[in-house]
Symmetry: D2
Subunit: 350 residues, 4 copies
């Protein structure tokens, strides 16, 4: 039931990250600078470490676009890993390179290492962590940027912000929390909000559970690495009464209006024309300078999970990823609702 | 990518609710009493109104089961609506009955009415509310019960509980909150928790975003009518540090163990062998005795949204629905991971 | 990637056959007499035996339709098996009835018996044959009839005919072939053609293999029980030259025209505006009066596959099923191309 | 319901063809030489023209494989187009290059040009033909080769052959037919057969139409560019009697055997353990030296469809593509039937 479908691939230190997007209408303008600016947004944020500065991700388009417009055929996006040269042997696809690196064998708590190594029968945890790394969200942001370019044609807008990190709720407090954690060799997560505006009424449907747009949004956000919670609308739904919570309906100048938006833009699994407001919670980054207790995957002896990475907090990046994921959900819903093979088919909607 | 797939149908006051489940292995025992006991659990709970007492839902199996065991062919479940006789004309499929009822035209805030009537071009809101009603969760509970019967073979267990209603956190406080709301003609939502135990390691996967089991769980729970939030594991993830949050790994008697389960049983989009703990938030029921402001869908004049229903709080039912939804996700993941056409194919796993 | 999706269920001698269709737009007229007339067409045809006369299938609508029009919610169709009373114990879902019948243990060549019994671990072949029976095509014809009702709104038409049975190509010859086979206790298959007319240009797409409409048609037809071949357009494609085969393009009065239709209405995996012409081949019915050599599924001793059924040839029924299957493919493609939630959304197309 | 899923992309003269395969188990050996040898097989065959000689396709693996084995993460395959340098401007994704080439405006009969240009609203038919070209089958062969590498572990084998070209049935006659067509500036199609051996019993299922393996095979083959017919087993099914056609079942030394295989290895939508035999018909190549009548897509004036390409017959390539497609279907069915995350999970099957 997807019209906007895509597959992504790539290991964290592999040659590149790749995405193929299938289902875009033809004659849609692809602004590569916009995609790159989204990649940049993902790399910024208070609390990011060294690697982010070194790499400046840019996308290359390998198919599906001619002279700046989509052809209707699958669009291929690639982000090259700039330091692949240093990893060429370690992540080589060639069997001859098998002894080019020492196996990494301590399970890192909070990561895919333990379950992944059992599932995929691996003794070198690099074979798990390379794909489970949040590095792959770079190409997902690129896919999300393409979805946003589609949504822009319909006048749909978006934004995101950080709501809380540790106990900090103002920018100053949040930065102080991050500084403190950094000094302690520790990490932090946080809460972020994503908002989409100017949506048509009736995306999604109540008629079958898997068509409800809130469910699809929840999957999209919860499947971002490190996200542990997704909420739509007012966070206090669990303790408000019906008369406090529900957004009464008025009519002004022949137009349906509301004075509140506790529902976060979704009623009955459908957009109701108000802003979509989604909140996500990211857990603290599980790679700590101050190592956690763990065990070795081969000997099962106690071992410390130290693996270099210098980020203290990545909630801003996470919010950018979430924006993109939501864009994909909305693009898909618009394609399902309105059909369309080329941008000309939507003229009556603009 | 679904092996356990199903469609459900049925209007709130229609002849019946129906589900077809496709993908069950053969030779699985179907205990119809268990399914009926699950239906009963859904109908109970402090705060439920009159209709629940009248109807006592029971399921009938129309296909896919012979002599108490599945055949491998699609299983059809039906729950008859006991008072259909009174609604026969009003919900008739026959064009001759078209004038059997007065149209219902006031949008009820918090319901699918507004967006639904625009999307489906309806002027009688009954055409929306009949399917958008939470009544349909009865058949979803039956489907979930079948999934649970499958999971039982693997030693998987489940439970759920209510965590908070209004500001009440103990049973006594919660009942008092409900009593107060009832008296005021108002409604309440709440927070519930669902837990699954004894799961195999490695259900779901980090390799592609749509295979992450946390994302699939989030969709399953968020698409339950009135649910506005889903969380996995410790609710305080957003304010804990990495060293506080992450579940360290130990080895005792050759077995991997943890002393905490903040991750709620899921790391890297996979089960890690610890209990899955999912929390959901249900908004207050939007059908109030004390009517909300609204407008008429035809005249757009102010009107009050009064529509009879006597529930004050349905969080307990919601938790039962959520248990069943999670069972469906887990059953599907087990079928994807282990394959299998009949129960005999899983013998090595028991 | 399906918008018109459905599940069917039911055993050959079970209580009923059921289908749930999800994805129909609202406000579409459902003419139940038309559906029943399609069921009747499936039951007729020269060469059908006794059972067909006894049963006269009729459909009941359990959900999704009010006052003769769809609601947008899932539509449930049921065809009751008229002689279920006689089978109640034999096909009971109740474990208590387990000894109500003798197991059927001889594999019938040409049927699902052998592979099915191994796959689903069954020793009573009735557990296979009840679902593998072509009886289930009755409900598929009902689903196809609903799809046809949708297509009618777009002015799309359809027809089918039998091309060859045995060596007979005229009606007289074909009947003679059937008479001869019947006398000999033998069976026959044949070739049929289905045609759809007045289709929009551009259903399907060349951009990805799984969006090609010819591939989807091929699956739909080949998955009809007993169909072994599907062709689109001129049967002699393999021996014609390019200059003979390809349908040249002309323009008359500003309209694109063709003088031939060897392509059968599909170029590049898309409808090209000409009639879709699909040919299918049905193998002879595998249930013969003159029994075939086989073995017992338990003892593996030689045994004769005799199982009563009195049809000699069912190609006419098969063509009706194929018409319906094609209707489902086309309805789905129209929903994907044009989107739409209710019939009003297509007004500009009529 | 797919576990082996993939997307492909790339224009005929674009930078490259790309595929992402998601769903492969970990620890499967990837023999890149085998993939390249398959690409070579596709490029050979009597009747191929000049381009085939110039390009010698080779694959590069960008992700999902380390030290010669799969990681379980998505595998990315790329085939670079060797003459892209000459096309860099013409197929540029950059809007600045828009005037680098003259539009191509004559619809080519037998191609996607006409329907595609209407569907995707294009006036330069290059925007259609670049993706609709059969060039994209190169990457599909690479994907199929990966599927074959998976199947090899189960002892499954394959082969294909050409059965008829024009009226020629021996190799000599077929070459003579091709020579004649080439001289005349004409083209030819033909009939080919693909065979898979040593399959497990019970891939696919009769329980729901979309799980029947014959239907899935039919889609896979019919969606190959230029294929117009797919058959399974004996071609004469339409004129044989039941007693002639059906493959009787015997038991020799405790093993089920057959003396015939008219069913082509499939009964009841499942593999029955006999060889799968699939026949396909390819229409003649629609790009002729001797131009066909057509019209201009802008002026609608008569025009001749001349577009250079020098192949006379490509049935051998088509058979290689079909082999690969079938491999994908079978790999998916094995993954559905047996589950499995890594090759170690299949040990009991070898």
């Amino acid at each position: 039931m997807e019209k906007f479908r895509f597959l992504t691939s790539g290991e964290s230190h592999g040659k590149c990250l790749t995405a193929i997007i299938e289902g875009l209408p033809a004659n849609m303008e692809i602004d590569i600078d916009f995609i790159n600016s989204e990649l940049k947004r993902r790399q910024c944020g208070y609390g990011r470490g060294g690697r982010m500065q070194i790499e400046s991700d840019t996308v290359e388009i390998l198919s599906g676009v001619r002279f700046g417009k989509t052809l209707g055929s699958p669009v291929t996006l690639v982000i090259k890993n700039r330091d692949f040269e240093n990893w060429q042997k370690i992540l080589s696809s060639n069997p001859k390179d098998i002894n080019s690196d020492k196996a990494f064998t301590t399970y890192r708590p909070g990561h895919a290492d333990y379950a992944g190594s059992i599932k995929y029968h691996q003794k070198d945890l690099r074979n798990i962590l390379e794909r489970s790394s949040a590095r792959k969200t770079a190409i997902e942001v690129a896919v999300g940027a393409v979805a946003k370019l589609f949504l822009k044609n319909f006048g749909i807008g978006w934004s995101s912000k950080i709501i809380q990190i540790g106990n900090g709720k103002t920018e100053e407090e949040m930065h102080a929390e991050i500084d403190r954690a950094k000094e302690a060799g520790d990490t932090l997560g946080g809460k972020f909000e994503v908002r989409y505006t100017n949506l048509p009424v009736g995306l999604g449907s109540y008629v079958h559970w898997d068509r409800k747009i809130d469910g699809r949004i929840a999957q999209a956000i919860m499947s971002i690495p490190a996200v542990k919670s997704v909420s739509i609308g007012n966070h206090h739904a669990y303790k408000m009464t019906g008369s406090e919570y529900h957004d009464e309906i008025f009519c002004e100048d022949g137009k349906i209006t509301r004075k509140t938006n506790n529902a976060g833009g979704i009623e009955g699994g459908m957009t109701n024309g108000e802003d979509i407001i989604v909140t996500g919670v990211m857990k603290p980054i599980p790679t700590l300078k101050k190592p956690l207790n763990s065990v070795d995957c081969i000997t099962h002896e106690a071992s410390e999970a130290h693996f270099e990475r210098s980020d203290t907090c990545a909630v801003e990046a996470c919010a950018v990823v979430a924006e993109g994921r939501l864009a994909c959900v909305l693009a898909n819903e618009i394609l399902l609702k309105y059909g369309g093979d080329c941008m000309e088919d939507y003229k009556h909607l603009f």
